[in-house]
Symmetry: C3
Subunit: 370 residues, 3 copies
């Protein structure tokens, strides 16, 4: 099996999950499905039964009830290890902004997966932590810079979720120090908490750029907290024109064709297919090919964006391998690409581009920071 680097993922739950919680973790919804329907009656559900049931020793397409019973019988830790190992990932770049006491720590996640782990630092989480330390408005910017320097000392990237908080129509200019101070004052007086002020979000984004690390940006679909049209990555053009760190556009769907164009015309811009491949299941064939329209082949990266469930790691990895092979087979059948070029493209999107962009060590098993 070829080397596969998961360039953007999250940790998983450390414990048993009941059927309702499991179902909700398979979707971007946060409320139960209407009576008579199930979120597992979906592309994710089909993919789960196709790729994960055999990994736990069941026939492919086993019913979801049988799958959950089997998962329970194995216990969450064994099931997690088996599913993660089956994903065959050599390296995980873990966004640590969604950690919690009931979640695996990144090192344990890596041990169970048999993969090296590197950290991706979520910018808004760091800012919210700084706000909780008793800093005042005048000291906020310096405290944030200091915290980011410390937190990213061993990280391979930073990540922004500004799409959720203010949308991607970010002005090109860094906000002025006085503006930041004023906005920080307002925020801190309200006790901090979830950061939604657009000036501060923009300042935090630029503080991320200041680390010099690659910047991962959530774009496209997610949960309903975001306004979808405002998450079109094309809105980032002014910001992209103003920075020169590598910017990796995560997810992108349904604006992945727009993202492909950005990846062609901005040398420092990349397109990551994580979340999209996993959530679309068998439709990943089509959407992957759409990602490879305008984007140069060395600008597309694989990730799972898996979160909470080890199943999402296996679905993301297995469906990606399958769909990539089907896409390249179709291109070969049309005599549109040589076998050597197809192999080169696959190597890049699976591992080579991630290694280059995130400056990862050449061996799979590196001394990650997390």
């Amino acid at each position: 099996m070829e080397v596969l680097i998961d360039a953007h993922c999250h940790t998983v739950v450390a414990g048993e999950l009941d059927a309702a919680a499991f179902e909700l973790a398979c979707t971007e919804a946060h409320l139960p499905a209407p009576a008579g329907t199930s979120y597992l009656d979906s592309q994710v559900g089909l993919a789960l039964r196709r790729w994960c049931a055999p990994a736990l020793g069941l026939p492919g397409h086993a019913e979801i009830g049988d799958y959950l019973a089997r998962r329970s019988a194995l216990g969450w830790r064994d099931a997690t290890r088996t599913l993660l190992r089956s994903a065959g990932l050599t390296t995980l770049l873990v966004d640590t902004g969604l950690d919690g006491p009931d979640r695996l720590d990144p090192a344990t996640l890596g041990d169970l997966a048999g993969a090296a782990v590197h950290e991706v630092v979520r910018l808004e989480t760091v800012a919210e932590h700084v706000a909780s330390t008793g800093v005042d408005a005048a000291g906020f910017a310096a405290a944030l810079a200091e915290a980011l320097e410390r937190r990213t000392a061993h990280a391979v990237a930073v990540k922004s979720v500004i799409a959720y908080r203010a949308g991607l129509a970010v002005p090109a200019e860094r906000p002025a120090a006085a503006e930041v101070r004023r906005a920080a004052g307002d925020w801190l007086r309200r006790g901090g908490g979830r950061l939604t002020d657009p000036v501060l979000l923009r300042h935090v984004l630029w503080a991320g750029v200041g680390t010099g690390l690659p910047l991962q940006v959530h774009t496209g679909f997610g949960d309903r907290d975001l306004a979808l049209p405002a998450a079109d990555p094309a809105h980032l053009q002014p910001f992209l024109g103003a920075v020169d760190v590598p910017v990796v556009l995560l997810h992108c769907y349904p604006y992945h064709r727009q993202a492909g164009w950005l990846a062609q015309v901005y040398p420092h811009v990349y397109l990551d297919v994580g979340l999209t491949v996993g959530h679309l299941g068998l439709r990943a064939d089509t959407v992957l090919a759409e990602c490879f329209e305008l984007a140069p082949f060395g600008k597309v990266l694989f990730s799972t964006d898996a979160y909470l469930l080890p199943e999402l790691y296996l679905i993301g990895a297995a469906q990606f391998r399958h769909s990539l092979r089907r896409m390249l087979d179709a291109w070969r059948a049309d005599d549109a690409i040589s076998a050597a070029d197809a192999a080169r493209l696959a190597e890049r999107v699976c591992a080579g581009t991630a290694r280059r962009v995130y400056a990862l060590p050449p061996t799979g098993r590196a001394g990650g920071s997390a």
Copy 2:
């Protein structure tokens, strides 16, 4: 043939049509095609000759002139009955907002189709009727509520065309009574007529929500009266977050991927493929599959959105059956879905979900209101 419920359609012309009128009824255009071209030289035209010519005893792909001659020879009533019966629809949910003296009444439409009929009440039409009754500004809101209660007593859904009148960027809030009174005063002073005032349109939409019935909303393409970017259903997010009746997004194309996401993250939101499947002809294979990307399978509904021509009923139904089977066959060939799951998906999109959402009686032939 499986049970197929047409969850959104309109009545058809009661009478003969000349070639020019027939051609124009096959398109969303309202002006003749330029010299040397024809609107029937299109996906709809191909689908018409493929699916309707054999129903009238001609070979598949018969020339359009031969088709129209045959239709004339049969007479509109026989042709209409034959085409509607060939569509094999068990139940029709008819939007009665486009009725007229030269159109079939819903009961006759159902008789010719051999189908049960239920009514969908178009909100703006009711409001415009109320305005013509001599009501004053102070009484408008109550008169509308009363009219809706009466008109929907036996209806299964209400429908909004606010996309045509003001776009879908509807604020989440119900307009205040004073605002509504003022806007109603302005409208009534101008003599009523076509309702385009954004405050009143919003009030009418909320009055529709107040009926408790499922709300069908025109989204995506239609005729050129609408501004296409304003018909992106994603603009509805604030409104969707504020209501809890089932909301069925009609048509959606070319924003059907956005609609699929809405159907995943809002439990009460559904995606209806009507109009799109019919107008896209053979391309329905592709677009149907795009609808089944993020939308849970129990959230997608079939309809024809047929209007004026019985041919559009048959095209909508026959192309849908064909494209759905091709889509599922391709999934089966990839071993991505079991035969049982494919059958379950088909049953839901054809009938099961419509029955659930619109609370239809279990038998095909129910005592509809229309």
Copy 3:
């Protein structure tokens, strides 16, 4: 080989190109690709090696270094002639707004290609030239009208790049004379140069409409000078509703489905697949089919939008022929279209519609103006 009219293209470089300049001419980017990547590691690169290498006597998929060595050995003039002839184009409609001393003049381009040449006049270039002639604000509008009349005497179309300068959300109204005079005064006082004033751009667009010629409009992707969301052709609706000359939407991707709808509901609107087919290489199969969803078949035109490299002529033409045949073969395999209808569709998109819209003489080799 069927007649193929290139309905929108540009001239090519008259001279040798080094590898870096060649690579940059294959992309919409204007900065080098990041170290370790290449813009030729892309759909354009695959298509170039597939279609152009054999034309120069190399095996298909030859490495790019071998290709460039071969091209050098032949010399630019022989390579250009061979590549252009291999494209098999009978007529070229050349946008002359990007000419320069190091470029082939249109007549020589036509001679090398063995094709008739007609001119497309770029409106903004004419306006910028008028501004350099010493005209004053009061005389600008008349001087522009006079220049356009002279420049278009033998032209077949005019072209606008307003998408790059102000976006496509153009108000329906022609700007008032006083507004134009004021804006012209400001521009001329600054010494003219690149025209970016929205009022003047709109005036220039309307002056183009005033010629009565078909209007080609850049829409969709291009280089990063444009804001992609503002290049969605659907923003043109108010303008389209106000004019009646034929309007040809160029490129359109990723908004080509929106363009297809415009081509259905506005009788005078057309969709040109140039740039998109060439840049997408093997993915042209898919995107061509998306263009043929809502657009009537007599509303879609072929062009290459080739610029600088004769390779882009050959890629555009060869990939288009290949993808069109594959699309129609798939439709035939589904029994969705008759052989005669498929041939008619192909004839129209290849040549018939261009002849009609641009009023081209019936023979391939006409006495063009350029």
